[in-house]
């Protein structure tokens, strides 16, 4: 075969691979949306899940997923921004800083099951809490905190240097400059990064299996006191999330409509992650336009 024919053949193969990848995605997405759409109705989202019979919904699991996400972000965003500020503005160029970077890399790439085991050890057994929302959130913090630190550090470094110089030259401290000039400038990127990270947290299951648990107690949605046992806001209760529920009904459970439930739950999960991604993108460009148009 001469080289021109090989070249054409190679081009064909590359195109084929690209087509395969695209086909995989289209196939997966269609499957999820079509099968799941059948299940998605108001009842499904607002009915309590069933342990034995069919016809259960995903109300509690949906709430748990959002609530654990909220608590996790509550912990990791402030700490992550603080860490990012240190890495971008205060960290000297030395071995300790390199070590911190290594730790960030390690923590954000550990398998979720390992993080879940660590969570089990520390936040379930050692503390004696048993399965709790706060335990799950703390486990998720292990990998989300490094992500937020990195997001913040990158965002701060992309603020133009002359802004920082202008503020310092006026007789303002570095800390105040960070608070009033750099962080506001970095905010669009930080928010975008946080929303994207939310997508991963929302779909996480392995880390929550042994920390937030596989069950949810009877919840009374009219009771909003965080300290009451039946309140959904109580963080010291077990909480099965949507992702864990999908796994649970298909491997451990015995309900007859497991597949249908999982279809609906999968659709909800995937659509939520999609929404997160779109929101991040839209919000990022919106804030960017507002800040630079005038």
């Amino acid at each position: 075969m001469n080289s021109k024919m090989t070249d054409r053949f190679a081009t064909f193969i590359f195109g084929l691979c690209a087509a395969i990848i695209t086909a995989i995605l289209v196939g997966l997405f269609s499957y999820i949306i079509f099968n799941g759409a059948k299940e998605l109705n108001f009842d499904f989202l607002t009915t309590r899940s069933s342990a034995i019979g069919s016809g259960g919904g995903i109300r509690d699991q949906l709430f748990n997923s959002f609530y654990i996400l909220f608590i996790t972000m509550l912990i990791t965003v402030p700490l992550g921004v603080g860490g990012g500020v240190y890495m971008a503005e205060y960290a000297p160029q030395n071995k300790v800083t390199d070590f911190i970077r290594t730790c960030i890399e390690v923590l954000s790439s550990l398998p979720s099951i390992v993080i879940g085991m660590f969570g089990l050890l520390m936040f379930v057994n050692l503390t004696g809490w048993g399965y709790t929302i706060i335990g799950g959130a703390l486990a998720l913090t292990v990998f989300n905190l490094p992500v937020m630190v990195r997001v913040t550090e990158d965002a701060l470094r992309s603020v133009p240097k002359d802004q920082k110089e202008a503020s310092l030259a006026l007789g303002v401290t570095k800390w105040h400059t960070v608070k009033t000039v750099l962080i506001p400038g970095a905010l669009p990127s930080i928010i975008t990064g946080a929303i994207l990270a939310s997508g991963r947290v929302f779909g996480e299951a392995a880390a929550l299996l042994f920390t937030a648990g596989l069950s949810t107690p009877r919840l009374d949605f009219t009771n909003w006191s965080p300290f009451s046992d039946t309140s959904p806001l109580n963080v010291f209760r077990p909480a099965e999330t949507l992702a864990v529920h999908i796994w649970n009904v298909n491997t451990q459970g015995i309900i007859p409509d497991a597949e249908a439930i999982a279809n609906g739950a999968s659709a909800v999960l995937v659509l939520s992650v999609l929404l997160f991604n779109l929101a991040a993108r839209w919000l990022g460009s919106f804030i960017h336009k507002k800040l630079t148009s005038k």
């Binding site: 080289s3 021109k4 090989t6 070249d7 190679a10 081009t11 590359f14 195109g15 690209a18 990848i21 695209t22 995989i24 995605l25 997966l28 997405f29 499957y31 999820i32 700490l79 603080g82 860490g83 500020v85 240190y86 503005e89 205060y90 911190i100 730790c103 390690v106 923590l107 790439s109 550990l110 398998p111 099951i113 390992v114 085991m117 660590f118 089990l120 520390m122 292990v142 905190l145 630190v149 401290t173 570095k174 800390w175 960070v178 929302f202 779909g203 996480e204 299951a205 392995a206 299996l209 042994f210 992702a243 796994w247 298909n250 999982a262 999968s266 995937v270 992650v273 999609l274 991604n277």
Partner: protein, 308 residues
């Protein structure tokens, strides 16, 4: 240093208790604490998982050699055996096999985006990759269970479609985005002069790709594959739903099997905390941790060998 005379100017301009900026001090301590949390958590994980993982050897007397090499896993038998090798083998098998599929496919996709159709290739494939990343791993496992397993079952002589093959296919699709996006970065950051030089010598596009571009991007391409493998090795739920979860050493890709992650997932809840069987699960977790560290070291080594 000369002693500074006390004047009105020195009050204003020399650092003293009166005019020291407390907000700066407090602020820098606060952020330093946040950053050092990273170190604290990393050390905590290593120490706690390390100690707990070693319990089965130190306290229960399980032999590490038996653990790592014996193929008999029978913790509930009269004479308990703790050979975890089937699971180690299972983890390695699905990791390597899925990399075998995802690496060529992903790198080819990357080359398509950067060399074959740079104008529109990225616009289509980039969102595709991002969407694939966004699908949670349980959903992959679930679809594998409802679509792939029955399909494979048709080709098996007996039993369900749960198999190493199912696990491999699910994992390949899951690590495909990782491999593709890093490979795309690798190919995209090659200097233009490399391509131009090759074309100027009369080479075809394929020749350029094969002889010039891929070798130049090789360290980063290998990093892409290794990162994909690291992800595959650590994946738990998706694999667990399709691989069958048996404790035998699989003899073909159609056999069921188990991996380190799947046996942990299944048995952690069914064993008593503190029992020998439970402790061996923690030892498997320790193996996962150590292998993760190894992957990171390999990736660092590859990154340091980048030619560009």
């Amino acid at each position: 240093m000369k002693q500074i005379e006390h004047t009105e100017a020195s009050d204003r301009l020399i650092s003293s208790k009166k005019n020291r900026q407390m907000d700066e001090v407090r602020g820098s301590i606060l952020v330093r604490f946040c950053a050092f949390l990273m170190i604290a958590v990393s050390i905590a994980i290593t120490i706690f998982l390390g100690i707990k993982g070693l319990q089965s050897f130190i306290v229960n007397g399980v032999s590490p050699i038996e653990f790592l090499t014996s193929i008999n896993w029978n913790p509930t038998a009269e004479n308990p055996q703790y050979g975890a090798f089937p699971f180690i083998f299972g983890s390695i098998a699905v990791t390597l096999l899925s990399a075998l599929i995802a690496a060529p496919l992903g790198i080819a996709g990357a080359i398509f985006m950067t060399e074959i159709a740079p104008a529109w290739g990225r616009k289509i494939l980039q969102p595709v990759i991002e969407l694939l990343v966004g699908i949670p791993s349980v959903v992959y496992g679930f679809i594998g269970l409802t679509v792939l397993v029955p399909f494979i079952g048709h080709f098996k002589s007996s039993g369900s479609g749960h198999s190493v093959l199912a696990g491999t296919i699910v994992l390949s699709i899951m690590i495909l985005p990782t491999v593709t996006s890093i490979a795309t970065d690798a190919m995209g950051s090659l200097p233009k002069s490399l391509r131009e030089g090759s074309y100027a010598l009369g080479a075809t596009r394929w020749q350029t790709i094969r002889r010039v571009l891929v070798p130049a991007a090789l360290p980063t391409l290998m990093t892409a594959v290794v990162l994909g493998m690291a992800r595959a090795f650590g994946e738990a739920l998706a694999v667990q739903m399709v691989i069958g979860n048996t404790r035998n050493l699989p003899e073909s890709i159609m056999d069921t099997a188990g991996t380190l992650t799947t046996i942990i997932t299944l048995n952690m809840g069914h064993t008593t905390y503190g029992s020998v069987e439970n402790n061996t699960l923690w030892s498997m977790g320790l193996v996962l941790l150590v292998v993760s560290f190894m992957f990171i070291l390999i990736i660092r080594y590859l990154s340091s060998r980048r030619k560009i």
